[in-house]
């Protein structure tokens, strides 16, 4: 469950689907609603497939995705060292409601992404909050948070869900 805000949109776009890691170096973002779309991130490239047409682009053009890919990998494999390579990390909260604050080390990435907050509960990563240098905060709700978000439309409520209160 993701919320994408944009100045062009009347309300944040609510997208449902799932993230998968079929292999260690691949991240798949499968959107089920309101339309079907599959994004495969592998080897520094993203491929977006929608209604039979595929578009590819390099992650170097979208540094925020690179961060996503790296942090996902590191989180899921519990590899803190890898995460440290990309971000300055600041952990806070309790085991039941923790937050990892990631500030990009790479200048190019920092110019686009101010910081990323990972919220979780126990072993579960529940939400990724990405604050771009300009524009609205993008939230990706996962696991239990995504299930709780079902049927919730209010942005404030979703933000609260994300921050795991």
């Amino acid at each position: 469950m993701e919320l994408r805000g944009s100045a062009l949109l009347k309300a944040p776009l609510r997208i449902e689907g799932e993230y998968k890691r079929p292999t260690d170096d691949t991240l798949v973002r499968a959107v089920r609603a309101p339309y079907v779309e599959t994004t495969t991130i592998r080897g520094g490239e993203a491929t977006i497939e929608r209604s039979g047409k595929a578009r590819r682009f390099s992650l170097s053009r979208v540094p925020e995705l690179q961060g996503l890919q790296a942090s996902f990998g590191a989180m899921l494999s519990g590899d803190r060292a890898q995460l440290e390579r990309y971000y300055a990390i600041d952990a806070s909260g309790t085991r039941q409601a923790w937050t990892l604050h990631l500030v990009p080390r790479d200048k190019a990435l920092l110019a686009k992404v101010r910081d990323i907050a990972l919220h979780g509960r126990g072993a579960e990563l529940r939400c990724i909050e990405t604050r771009p240098a300009k524009g609205d905060t993008q939230r990706t709700l996962l696991a239990g948070a995504a299930r709780s978000a079902h049927g919730v439309d209010d942005a404030q409520a979703l933000a609260a869900l994300c921050q795991a209160q």
């Binding site: 993701e2 994408r4 944009s6 100045a7 062009l8 949109l9 009347k10 309300a11 776009l13 997208i15 973002r29 959107v31 339309y35 779309e37 994004t39 991130i41 080897g43 520094g44 490239e45 993203a46 977006i48 929608r50 578009r55 590819r56 682009f57 390099s58 992650l59 170097s60 053009r61 979208v62 925020e64 995705l65 996503l68 686009k112 771009p132 524009g135």
Partner: protein, 779 residues
């Protein structure tokens, strides 16, 4: 002129003064010398339309300014990063008009021209901006905003909701673009990043190409950093640079060995350390005089003039040697040079008369060559006659006292003078020359390049991977003006596209209207664009079906209105944009006409394409055939000049010697040698080119001199010994120089080297057999 010899110290001082003058003159000439690498000056004027296109309009095909690069080694991601870094650096370099690695494309389109996207893109040929089409497009944009690519798309949407800029960027991709990995072009195996770089310098501008190749290598070194990747650079420019470098390296070591060899040879022959210095002065003066004369009489000196010229005046090295071998204790230098002068003058004069025929060839390069050689040989002869006697040590060893030479002479004297056997040899050589299998002439200039086969294969491979245009074929469509040429190119493109889709004819093509459609087409697209109120209504209807805000599309409405009401784009609107480069390369504008060029990729059926081109008034130009026919025309001129030269040579020698028997003895060795060289080359399957011809002329000149001196020696034993000594030194010097050239890996140098080396041996032997007088034993 019976001067007393100068004091030794003064003689040396004068020789050094001469050398100093030459150095200063050489420096002065080199400052004013403008060497032109333009091959066209060395070519006869164009006659056929294809030749005209080659020489006057193109100079070369659109593909020949293209350098292809591939970066290999390491993982794809780092290779891609290097490709991006290289492009970043080269794109801002004025030496390149286009640096493409598959990246971006949007930045190629300048901001002020953005509204014109609706006139340049083919979208409006098939779609209208109504509520249905806009609704469909806007829904796709919403999905884009929800996708990981949102950051790329979001800034474009307000002004370009149909993403026309992306459509254009895709339209402008090479006809068969390679795959993209990490945002840049990669080969099919996904291991090498590919770049296509178009230089501003012409393909035949060696200096410009060298600078371009250096810049690319520097950019690669900077991009590579500490990575262990390698760069492969191919394309006509890269090859010519590589050949240039190799020629220079080989010429370097050949020159060094030559210099050492000649110095040693001259020292051994005369046992006087000043002789090597003195011996070099006339030749060096000849070269400078030749260069100076050409620089005075012509605008630019052609590089080939210099190369051929120095080859041809090599014969001048022999002049002082004849003098040295005849100078001995007890004889005044002035007296010995006077005794030789009639023979030397006959040789020089007849050779110069022969070269003068190049004047009537009507080819500037050949005229330059005539001026160069006549000025050079004349200078060398006069220097030997009037300066050398004052400088040489009068008491040189007399070769006539050498026991070794005497034994050699006695042995030669026992060899009977051949008569019938010569006729047999001549007939045999003629038969081999005429009947040897294989083509007689080599017309393909490209085959003269020593580019290794694997480098050519790499080039072909890269060309195929990158979809780079064919360097041999191009379609030329002439129109009354730019608009006419563009309209023709559009119609032709439609037909070619049909053929391409049908398959088997060609893989792709590129034409100017792809980047700049004709005014007529732009007008038609303007008519398809809705008026502001209509568009506003359609957009509102479309936006209402999406979660998009309706108030963000003002830039789009403004752009469409600008496109709808502005004057269509013409070439001068593109000046200063990357588009201008693409268009200029394919659209040649002249005062009274314009020519559109359509470059072809993966041409499988030239005949079919030629028919399609003809249907729209265009023609498929075979640049290779055009250049070959030019070479053939050029050779025709040279052969005519040579025929005339041969006649004049016979007349000149006849006037000088005034006896049919003597004329026969002097001319037979060189005539026979020419046939023998031809026979040997043909027997070994060598296809003859212009360089062989030039070398044959030099060999004939040497043969004439050898025979003249053998003949001049008469039947006096001592004179015969001195002449034998001089000619052995002369022929060994020439043999040394040209035998080394024959070992070169550069086909041009090898052609000249083998031909002249063969000629020296044959001329010496035949001169000895035919031209010498039977000896008269001392009583």
């Amino acid at each position: 002129m019976n001067h007393a010899p100068l004091r030794p110290g003064l003689r040396l001082a004068l020789a050094l003064l001469w050398l100093a003058i030459l150095v200063v003159a050489g420096w002065a000439i080199s400052r004013h010398l403008e060497l032109s690498g333009d091959l066209r000056r060395f070519m006869p004027s164009a006659r056929t339309p294809a030749q005209k296109l080659l020489i006057d309009e193109l100079g070369e095909g659109p593909g020949s300014r293209l350098l292809l690069a591939s970066i290999t080694g390491g993982d794809a991601e780092s290779v891609a990063a290097q490709s991006r870094a290289m492009r970043e650096r080269l794109a801002h370099d004025a030496r390149f008009v286009l640096v493409a690695n598959g990246e971006g494309g949007l930045e190629a389109f300048p901001q002020r021209l953005r509204p014109y996207r609706y006139l340049l893109s083919p979208t409006l040929d098939t779609h209208r901006f109504d509520a249905a089409y806009l609704g469909e497009q806007l829904q796709a944009r919403v999905e884009d905003l929800g996708s990981p690519a949102s950051a790329l798309v979001e800034p474009l949407v307000p002004s370009d909701p149909t993403l026309e800029t992306l459509t254009l960027a895709e339209t402008w991709e090479p006809a068969t673009a390679p795959q993209r990995l990490h945002g840049v072009w990669f080969d099919r195996a996904g291991r090498s990043a590919l770049l296509a770089v178009q230089t501003r310098a012409a393909g035949f501008d060696p200096t410009g190409q060298q600078a371009a190749v250096d810049a690319i290598r520097a950019a690669f070194d900077a991009a590579r950093g500490s990575a262990k990747s390698t760069l492969v650079l191919t394309g006509p420019g890269a090859f010519s640079v590589e050949i240039g470098g190799r020629t220079q390296r080989e010429a370097g070591w050949i020159g060094t060995i030559d210099t050492i060899g000649l110095l040693v040879l001259l020292y051994v022959a005369y046992r006087n350390w000043k002789i090597p210095l003195l011996g070099a002065l006339p030749l060096a003066s000849a070269g400078l005089a030749g260069l100076g004369a050409v620089a005075l009489m012509f605008e630019g000196v052609h590089g080939i003039t210099v190369a051929f010229g120095f080859t041809l005046i090599g014969v001048a090295q022999d002049y002082p040697v004849h003098f040295f071998s005849h100078q001995r204790t007890g004889v005044q230098p002035w007296a010995s040079v006077r005794a030789l002068w009639p023979t030397l003058a006959t040789g020089v004069a007849s050779t110069c008369i022969a070269y003068a025929t190049f004047f009537v060839s009507g080819v500037e390069g050949l005229e330059q060559l005539a001026v160069f050689t006549i000025a050079g040989l004349g200078t060398a002869a006069l220097a030997t006659r009037f300066l050398m006697p004052a400088l040489v040590d009068p008491d040189l060893r007399d070769p006539a006292q050498s026991a070794v030479l005497e034994r050699m002479r006695a042995w030669i004297a026992r060899v009977p003078q051949p008569r019938m056997s010569l006729v047999v040899v001549a007939l045999l050589a003629l038969a081999v020359t005429i009947f040897a299998p294989g083509p007689f002439w080599q017309n393909d200039l490209a085959r003269l390049t020593p580019v290794p086969a694997d480098a050519l294969a790499r080039d072909a491979h890269l060309r195929q991977e990158l979809g780079a245009p064919d360097v041999r074929y191009v379609i030329a469509v002439q129109g009354r003006d730019v608009e006419d040429a563009l309209q023709r190119s559009e119609r032709l493109a439609t037909r070619l596209e049909r053929a391409r889709v049908a398959g088997g004819v060609l893989d792709g093509f590129d034409h100017p209207a792809r980047y700049l459609p004709s005014v007529r087409t732009q007008h038609a697209r303007q008519l398809q664009l809705p008026a502001p109120a209509t568009l506003r209504a359609a957009l509102d209807t479309a936006v209402a079906t999406t979660p998009l805000r309706s108030d963000v599309f003002a830039p789009f409405l403004a752009d469409v209105e600008t496109a709808r009401t502005s004057a269509p784009l013409v070439p001068r609107d593109l000046v200063g944009t990357p588009l201008a480069i693409r268009v200029d390369g394919l659209l040649l504008q002249r005062a009274d006409h314009a020519t559109a060029l359509i470059s072809l990729t993966g041409l499988h059926a030239p005949d079919a394409v030629a028919r399609i081109a003809a249907a729209e008034g265009g023609s498929l130009v075979d640049l290779k055939q055009a250049s070959e026919s030019l070479v053939a025309a050029y050779r025709g001129r040279v052969l005519w000049a040579l025929g005339l030269a041969a006649v004049l040579l016979v007349v000149a020698v006849w006037v000088a010697l005034r006896s049919p028997h003597r004329v026969w003895r002097v001319l037979a060795p060189m005539a026979l040698t020419t046939v023998i060289i031809l026979a040997v080359l043909r027997a070994f399957g060598v296809e003859l080119n212009l360089f062989h011809l030039v070398a044959l002329i030099l060999a004939a000149g040497l043969g004439l001199d050898y025979a003249l001196f053998f003949e001049h020696a008469g039947d006096d034993r001592e004179e015969q010994l001195r002449t034998l000594h001089a000619l052995i030194v002369c022929s060994l010097m020439t043999l040394l120089v040209f035998a080394l050239l024959a070992w070169s890996s550069i086909p041009v140098l090898r052609a000249i080297g083998t031909t002249v080396a063969l000629g020296v041996v044959s001329n010496f032997v035949l001169g000895l057999l035919i031209a010498r007088h039977p000896h008269r034993d001392p009583a």
